[in-house]
């Protein structure tokens, strides 16, 4: 009897955690998003669907911008993270863990502090731009801060390790002899990569994509520190509505709209990559 129960007992803390900190708050938020009223008179459950209509019509611009920024940051992370992960996995030799530590090193500094340090680095007369300007390589009024590229770069910088690690894990685990097998079967180096290494590593790219796209799209720190008034992301709106305007129903409604859009994005992404195939390889 006890033996039969053990697996369930082991899963119990996990389920309790999920129920307490995911299902309950989510249900609370869902209920909140359908109320009307204000923080002084109190909120009343009226199944007020208008909150959603408001959320979408008022903030569609920020929503679309967030998705584009998140997408941009994810693409940059793949472009930088894949070669880095590949190099560490295939050519890291004895020092693989050192290189991985270097990738993770920025994580030892708080997220907000890292982003603020970028503000100094990218400021109009900071280390990078100031130096280039003093050599006359850039016009004196050139600036990066408060622009879309600054926000996207900041996002990519902050979430790069989330892309590198899953790709590295897949590349490290695969039998490196398959590359030799591909060469042996008349594939050039490029063909061996495109036909063998890349398809095998797609599950890692998929996981890394999720782990960068979701948090970057919902992020508000980078937009508020590195962006200007014209670069507001949906995360900042939720934060302002909730903490500054105390308009809880609208904040909750935007949150659910964002969640729906992200889920939609993820499913179409999975479709495009062919999750079934991807999962089959992983199940090996």
């Amino acid at each position: 009897m006890r033996r039969k129960l053990t697996p369930y007992l082991l899963a119990l803390p996990g389920w309790a955690w999920l129920a307490l900190f995911f299902v309950v708050p989510l249900a609370g938020m869902a209920s909140l998003s359908l109320t009307s009223g204000n923080v002084i008179t109190g909120f009343e459950q009226t199944f007020n669907v208008a909150n959603y209509v408001d959320a979408i019509s008022t903030y569609s611009e920020q929503l679309v911008r967030s998705l584009l920024y998140g997408l941009g940051a994810t693409v940059i992370c793949v472009a930088i993270g894949y070669p880095a992960a590949y190099w560490i996995a295939f050519h890291g030799g004895k020092h693989k863990s050192t290189y991985l530590l270097l990738i993770l090193l920025p994580f030892f500094v708080s997220f907000v502090l890292r982003t603020i340090s970028w503000k100094f680095t990218l400021s109009d007369n900071g280390v990078v731009l100031g130096t280039l300007k003093s050599f006359g390589l850039l016009p004196a009024d050139f600036g990066v801060l408060n622009t879309a590229p600054a926000v996207v770069l900041g996002l990519a910088y902050n979430f790069l390790p989330f892309m590198v690690l899953p790709i590295y894990a897949v590349l490290e685990r695969m039998d490196h002899r398959v590359v030799e097998a591909a060469h042996d079967l008349y594939a050039s180096k490029l063909q061996a990569f495109l036909r063998v290494v890349l398809p095998i590593s797609l599950p890692g790219v998929f996981a890394g994509g999720l782990m960068t796209f979701i948090p970057t799209t919902a992020d508000y720190v980078n937009a508020s520190v590195l962006g200007g008034p014209g670069n507001t992301m949906i995360g900042s709106i939720i934060q302002t509505q909730y903490l500054v305007n105390n308009d809880y129903p609208i904040a909750a409604a935007i949150t659910f709209v964002l969640m729906a859009v992200l889920l939609l994005g993820i499913f179409s992404y999975a479709r495009a990559l062919g999750t079934e195939r991807v999962m089959e390889v992983q199940a090996k």
Binding site: A181, Y186, S188, L190, E280
Partner: protein, 383 residues
């Protein structure tokens, strides 16, 4: 990174001739650098492997056999020397432009491709037409008896099936030579024995040169036309399985291949039939070779060449007396350990082709027995 798909180009002016060996290594050495130290994997190799031959590189781990194979495949570049395929110098030719294919020890199947797509991989890179590719893949899968598994992924196959996919994937390209790197090492004994027969059958059927790397002497003896026994980066002996087993050229080969009894002694007198040897244990044996009196000699005799008896054997044979100290019954044969003199142990393998009770009676533990063999069945090791 180039994406060229052109056919292999000979880099030297030597023309390819029908008489040229399928594979030829001349003065090949390979030294690896690890840190400040150099490690010589292959110390100097001259080998000619003929077309259609089943050729084995046999030796313990670290003897240079795998490095040799990888140089033939093109994964390693020789430090010095020349590798020729069908007479063409391919020393500097990349693996994807060499007309040899390899079966990896780990199989290295492509996990994301089906069995059929794994087998078709090489043909697609060579731009063989779709209809012909499909036909050859189907044919090859039939040959290795995997026709019904074509659509499966490697992860859904058993070890033996994966092994056959790896074989089919290489053979379908009809290479000049097939390189097999310990392909059976991961299989269990029964399957390994079945695959040995299978490999030999396939090799006979299609007539492609096989180069087989193994540390398993049984495997090499069973399948090979010729064997190169390697040790420490050099070939110790090159010959047919029978030559290598019956007449080991070096002490290493004698010890590595099968079981040998080593009897040390001194040449006592030469006769018309050979030499009379006084063993260190005090008894006399004969050998067919001539050695001048007083020369120290190492006489070797295989356990299965020795006859065990209670009656004194014929005086024309080499014979010694001893006491049985141990017997191991193995079904078809029994292994006896016989103490001769104070500290010389001789191992004897006897076929159990006699009445079992009679065999028991002659050689229980502690019984006094005669051991005998023909002088021509023993041989001298170079000292």
């Amino acid at each position: 990174m180039t994406a060229t798909t052109e056919a292999p180009v000979p880099t030297a002016s030597e023309p390819s001739t029908a008489a040229a060996p399928a594979i030829s290594l001349a003065g090949v050495t390979k030294t690896f650098q690890s840190g400040r130290e150099n490690f010589t994997a292959v110390g100097g190799l001259d080998l000619d492997i003929q077309a259609g031959e089943f050729f084995s590189l046999l030796g313990p781990s670290g003897c240079g056999k795998t490095t040799t194979m990888r140089m033939i495949a093109g994964f390693e570049e020789p430090t010095t020397g020349v590798v020729r395929l069908g007479g063409k110098d391919v020393t500097d030719v990349a693996p994807n432009h060499r007309d040899v294919n390899m079966v990896f020890q780990s199989y290295a199947l492509f996990p994301h491709l089906s069995v059929a797509d794994n087998v078709a991989f090489g043909l697609k890179r060579k731009r063989v037409g779709k209809a012909e590719t499909d036909r050859r893949v189907a044919e090859m899968l039939e040959l290795v008896e995997l026709g019904s598994q074509a659509k499966r992924k490697p992860s859904q196959l058993s070890g033996g099936q994966r092994q056959r996919v790896a074989l089919a994937r290489a053979l379908v390209n009809q290479p000049r030579a097939l390189l097999l790197d310990e392909p059976l090492a991961a299989l269990d004994l029964k399957l390994r024995q079945a695959m040995q027969m299978e490999l030999k059958r396939i090799q006979r059927d299609i007539g492609i040169t096989f180069i087989y790397v193994t540390h398993d002497q049984g495997e090499a003896l069973t399948m090979s036309d010729r064997i190169a026994v390697m040790n420490g980066g050099y070939v110790e002996q090159l010959g047919t399985p029978a030559e290598i087993y019956e007449r080991p050229a070096t002490r290493f080969v004698a010890a590595f291949i099968g079981t040998s009894n080593l009897l040390t002694g001194t040449a006592a007198a030469t006769t018309s039939e050979g030499t009379d040897v006084l063993l260190d244990c005090g008894q006399h044996v004969r050998i067919a070779e001539r050695r001048s009196e007083g020369t120290p000699v190492d006489v070797t005799v295989r356990p299965e060449k020795i006859q065990l008896s209670t009656e004194p054997p014929d005086a024309s044979l080499s014979r010694v007396r001893g006491t049985v100290t141990d017997t191991v019954y193995l079904g078809s044969s029994t292994h006896y350990t016989v103490l001769v003199g104070d500290d010389t142990e001789i191992v004897v393998f006897q076929q159990n082709d006699r009445d079992l009770s009679a065999a028991d009676a002659i050689a229980g533990r502690g019984s006094e027995v005669w051991l005998s063999w023909r002088p021509t069945h023993s041989y001298l090791l170079p000292s």
